[in-house]
Structure formats: C-alpha cells, structure tokens
C-alpha cells in the first residue's frame, strides 16, 4: 500500500470543505472557468471528437502490447545513454531516487510538477536523506511553503487567496510581498531562478514517453520543466508504466487533446521532448538521465476492473465538471488524486479499502465521462468499485444488510407489493403535513434531506385500474 489509509470520515472532511467559504468560491470560479475554456477550445476544433476517439484507441492498443512498447522504450532510452529503473512499489521508487541522489552527492533537487512523485511521497524521502526538494511550479511552490498538498491536479493552489500567498511569502521568504499576483510571481521567479542554477538534481514526471524514440515528454506552461531538464547535472523522470505511447505520430494525437481538455489552450506553452542526457555536441543538459518506471498498483489493473483508468492523461477535466469535486475540492478526498478519476486511481494505488466511502462520493451523473478526452467510463468503474467494496465485506455491516434486503425485495414482485403496502400503512400514522418525519435510525440520511413519501396508489395499482377500465 502506497499511502496511509485516511481515517477521518469523508463526511467530516467534506463538511469542513463545505464550511470554507473562500475555498467554495475559489473552486466555483476555477472550475467554471476551466469548463468554459475547454468548451471553447473544442468548439473551434471540429476534428476534436474524432481525435479523442483516436487517442483512446491508441491507449487501448498500447495496453494490448504494453510489454512490447515498454521494452522498446527501455532499449531506446538506454541506447541514448539513459538509465532505466523498475519500481514495483512506491517504497522502491523512493529508494531508487534517494540512491541516485546519494551517489551523485546531490544536496538540492528542483522538481517540476509531477503527480507521480506526489503519489510516492518523494519529498519526505528526499528530505530524510538530506536532499532539499524544491517544488518549482508556482502552485506547487506555494503549497510546499505552506506545508500543504495539491488540491487540483493542474492548479494545485486554487484554494489559496492572493492575500494568503502574500502572507506566506513574507513569512517564509523574509521579503515584503504585496497581495498582487504579478509581483508574487516575480518574487517566485527570482527565488526559484537561483535554485535552478544551484541544484544538482532535477526531478520530473512525464506526460508521455515515446517507445520508438526513447523520448520523455513534459508538458508545462511555466517553463520550469525546461529548467529542471536543462540546468542540473542529473535528471530523474518518474513515470507510471501506462504513460508509454508507441510513436511520435501517436504523441501528436495526444498533444492535440491534452491542453484543450486541461486549460483550453491549443497547446500548453512548453512541450519538451527529452531524448537522453546531454549529447557530445551540446553545451548544456544533464550528464545523467534516469527514467524510473513505476508500477505501484497499475500492472495489476491491466486485467483488473480499473483497466480503463490506465488511459488517463491527468488533464483534470473530470474534476472541473464533477458536482461533488466542485463542492468539496481536492483535499476532502484525502489522497493524492482527487475527483472522479482520483477515486479510481486511489483504489488502484491503495486497494478498495481506501475507497470504502469515496466510491460513493459521486452522483454517477456521467459528466466526467463526457469531459474525459479519452472517454474513460468513470461511472461504470465507480459502480464496480461499490460492488467490490460490498462483496468483500469492506462496506459497513448495516449498509450491507439493508442493501441485501432491498435487493431481495426488488427481485420479488409479490414481496415488493407487500412491502409497498406496509410502508404506506406505516407512513399514514407518521406523516406530518404530508412530509415524512425524521427517523432516528436514518439520522444521517434524513438530516439534510426528506425521506421520500410513498404515493397513495402505486404505479402498478394505477396501471391495473386502467387495464380494468379498458384504458
């Protein structure tokens, strides 16, 4: 298991988020903006729908020959002078990276935003080994200074106000910082520029890796990905095995949908294709390049219920459209990956027990599947997860008993009719002003909503009456 199980109930975490007025407003503004930008990007791009289908087909095709493509990738990265490492668990990935840092005598590591390194909680391991990790994506830098965790896959600090950031900079950097994004950004540029030039180690994730050419691909807007892969002596890229794509032709299909889905840009500002360490003719670039291929629960899903989630590009589009995410934000999910896809990835990384509650944190409205650039059927897998949670006895006993009874009643018409009559009789005595009362044993359920009232005549009864009257 890669992450410790979150033990506070989801309900409490969600409650805290719902009570945070700024968070609520920030989420609303951010997600609404992202939705609009995405819609605009695709509306001016008629071939977008076909491209999404192609992107999805490439992901599935790659998975069908994953062994072949990964072996090609490894061969080609090594041919270019890079080193490839294989990490089955998060622990192992951390050990590999810490060993590289130790061997090269690194004191400081600059990092470009990477969910894979978040997922393996790399920063703690580096710090414990005496290597100072410095997040260089502005949002990640802010939350690192604040000792927090990202709340959105692509906008990690959307939960912070400019005032909070100014206070944070003033306190942590010891320099006067006004609540002006322009000035705050310039301060971060100055602080981080020095770090880029000093750091021994550059650590990145990878949005893709091209098997046929041995290319690691990074997509950023700020340019920190370029800094991290150009200035330090050693570059380490950490990548989930599912990110491999066969060829450059395939890569261009993904680049055509990724930024449009994430931020509504046609392309992100920088797409950086890294093909091994610095070549002999080059003035700059790292002397060493390491690619850490990460399993951490992914490989087991090749034949698992979450196979489809292996197509995820980490664009964040499903977060923005999710009615649950939009209310509670990323932190309430409790794990590295928030939002609808995050629930699936959490289950993939940490097992079904970790999503006992989270698998229900969805209205199954399907907005996520519509927004997904590779059309991952997230609701289907959420239902599968709920089933698994119930069947494996992870769900609470009371819930299992109630649903087992319900299943029995629904499957037997006679039993169903009897149950309806009983409910109607019972409620006649209890109804107040036509509304169902709050029942103590349904406390949580009825605290914020009304128990539905059974109709005076059921549909079946009315249908039967119509039949009798000859319609």
């Amino acid at each position: 298991m890669s992450e410790p199980l979150v033990t506070t109930p989801l309900r409490e975490r969600a409650q805290a988020a719902l009570g945070d007025r700024f968070l609520h407003e920030a989420l609303d503004i951010a997600t609404t903006k992202f939705i609009g930008l995405r819609r605009e990007a695709f509306s001016g791009f008629p071939q977008g729908e076909a491209l999404r289908d192609r992107a999805r087909a490439i992901k599935e095709a790659t998975l069908q020959r994953l062994d072949h493509h990964l072996e090609r990738l490894v061969d080609n990265v090594e041919r270019l002078g890079g080193h490839v490492h294989f990490a089955t668990t998060a622990d192992e990935a951390r050990d590999i990276i810490v060993a590289i840092a130790r061997r090269t005598g690194a004191r400081m590591a600059v990092k470009s935003k990477s969910m894979a390194t978040e997922e393996i909680h790399l920063n703690d391991a580096l710090a414990a080994a005496g290597v100072t990790p410095v997040e260089t994506d502005l949002g990640e830098y802010i939350i690192q200074l604040a000792h927090e965790r990202p709340s959105h896959i692509i906008a990690p600090a959307i939960h912070k106000t400019r005032g909070q950031v100014a206070e944070l900079f003033t306190r942590e950097l010891g320099r006067e910082a006004p609540p002006d994004p322009e000035v705050l950004t310039r301060i971060a540029r100055e602080e981080l520029r020095e770090k880029f030039l000093q750091a021994d180690l550059g650590i990145t994730g990878a949005n893709f890796a091209v098997a046929e050419t041995g290319t690691v691909v990074l997509v950023t807007n700020e340019g920190n990905g370029r800094m991290v892969t150009s200035l330090p002596r050693v570059h380490v890229a950490v990548m989930g095995v599912e990110k491999v794509v066969p060829s450059m032709t395939d890569l261009m299909v993904f680049l055509g949908v990724l930024a449009k889905s994430a931020t509504g840009q046609k392309l992100s500002v920088y797409t950086t294709l890294v093909q091994g360490p610095r070549r002999p003719a080059e003035l700059e670039g790292p002397e060493e390049l390491h690619l850490v291929l990460l399993d951490n629960g992914r490989i087991a899903q090749i034949a698992g219920t979450l196979r489809e989630a292996l197509a995820c590009l980490r664009c964040g589009a499903c977060l923005n459209v999710c009615p649950v995410y939009r209310e509670i934000g990323g932190h309430a999910y409790g794990y590295t990956y928030p939002g609808p896809i995050g629930i699936l990835l959490t289950a993939m990384l940490n097992g079904p027990r970790s999503v006992k509650e989270l698998s229900h944190a969805s209205s199954l409205c399907g907005a996520c599947a519509d927004a997904c650039p590779v059309r991952i059927d997230i609701p289907r897998m959420l239902v599968e997860l709920r089933k698994e949670v119930a069947e494996r006895g992870i769900a609470p006993r009371r819930e299992r008993v109630v649903f087992a009874m319900l299943a029995r009643v629904l499957a037997h018409p006679a039993l169903y009719r009897l149950a309806v009559r009983m409910v109607r009789m019972a409620q006649r005595a209890l109804l107040r002003e036509g509304r169902a009362p709050r029942l103590a044993f349904l406390g949580e359920w009825t605290r914020t909503r009304d128990l539905p009232v059974a109709a005076a005549r059921s549909f079946q009864e009315r249908w039967a009456a119509l039949e009798r009257d000859g319609r």
């Binding site: 490839v84 294989f86 990490a87 310039r186 981080l192 700020e222 032709t249 797409t271 610095r278």
Partner: protein, 250 residues
Amino acid sequence: MTTRAEFVARIRGEMARAAALFPAAPAERPARPRERLDVLRRELSERWPQTLDRFRVEFERVGGVFHRVASAAEVPALLERLCRERHARSVVTWAAPALGVDVAPALEAAGIGVETMPHGVPQDAERERLRERVARADVGVTGADLAIGETGTLVLRAAAGRPRTTSLLPPCHVAVFDRGALVETLEQVGIALEAWHDGPPAPGRGAVINFITGPSRTADIELTLTRGVHGPKEVHAVFVDEGLRVTDGE
C-alpha cells in the same frame, strides 16, 4: 530491487489474463518518413502565405509578438530596435550559421553586448561563464525549425551552436524563421518528428526538442494570468520573406 525481467514478466502475466476492451491499433506511421516529409514540404511551399497568416493569428492569440521583414539584412536593425525599446544591454544568440544571419556586428556597433553561442563544446570554466552570461542576458536570439499554423507554436531542436537555454533564460526571446519552417497542423509535425528520428541521430544533434507556444505563463494565484514566471515574459517571431541562409542545418 525489481529487475527488468521480473517487471516485464509481471506485465506479461497480467496481459495474458486480460481481455481487450475493444479492437484497437496505434496511429499509422509513414512508411518512409523522410520521403513523406519531402512531399509535404513541396505541398506546403505552394500555400505558405495562408499558413503564415494562420500562424500569425494563433501566435498573437497566445501573447506572441509577430514581425515580418523583407530580408535577412533587416533582422539586425529590428533586433537593435527591440533592444533599445527594452533598455536591453546584453544579447545572447545562436551562431550565425545556425541562425542564417549574423546579428552581432550591428548590435555591438549600437553598444549592446553580444555573446554568440559556440559551435563546439568549450572547457568547463568557459561553459560555466557562458551559462552565467545566458542567465543574465536581456534577450535571447534563436532560429526555429518549425512554426505551426494551427497552434502558433515554434519548434526548436537543440544542437551544436543551438543550445536550449537561449530561448529559456533571458526574459525576452526572439526567434527568426522563414517559409521553410511553416507547417499547418500538429499531424504534419508528427511527420517531421518521424523523419527526424528516422535513422541514427546526426553527430551535431542535441538531446532536446522544444515546442514553444507563447511566453511562459501561470495562473496559479487566483487564476490570474501572469507572464514570465520561469521562462521568457516576451516571445517575438520574426518572419523573413526572402529566406534565411542556414548553413549548418539538415
């Protein structure tokens, strides 16, 4: 530690138990990418004015500043003006053979310090000095291998004399290109990339290809768009009508 053999064996094991979700194939690649690229270039050369118009619209949309000059001889004067307007005192540039134009004499005559990136790889001390110079420079001048109409993107391949940080560290980046760089779509870029990777890399080739779509940007504080967070705050594209004589390209 997990070995490659163990790792791949586990993947094979899972693949053997897995059912495909649907029949699927990767994108079809050109069989002879270099020839395909030659054909494409010929096609594109017949409609480059439209591609240039589209590039300009998209490049300006992402915050780039577009310039057009008649000939390479006009490039140094344009650079000098850009420097003067920005009170820029220091310029770093790709070498003249990589750029297709020698910009140093005119700029130096105007009192602007110019550091030209060497074609060979100097000793460590000199490399360190150059890195300092690039990090402190006001303007970086490069060429561009491709200019993509669909997205307003410049594509730069690192190589000898064409280092990657010229377009990254200075706050103002100026890229000079001509009609030979214009392509229309990302799909066409795919053909170029396939062709560039067909066969072993040329000896002078670098390890990085960068796609640059406008100035560096972030919206990480309250979604307020801010330019120049790590990379350049300004990106200029200079189109040269009569063409550039790049003598060390492929």
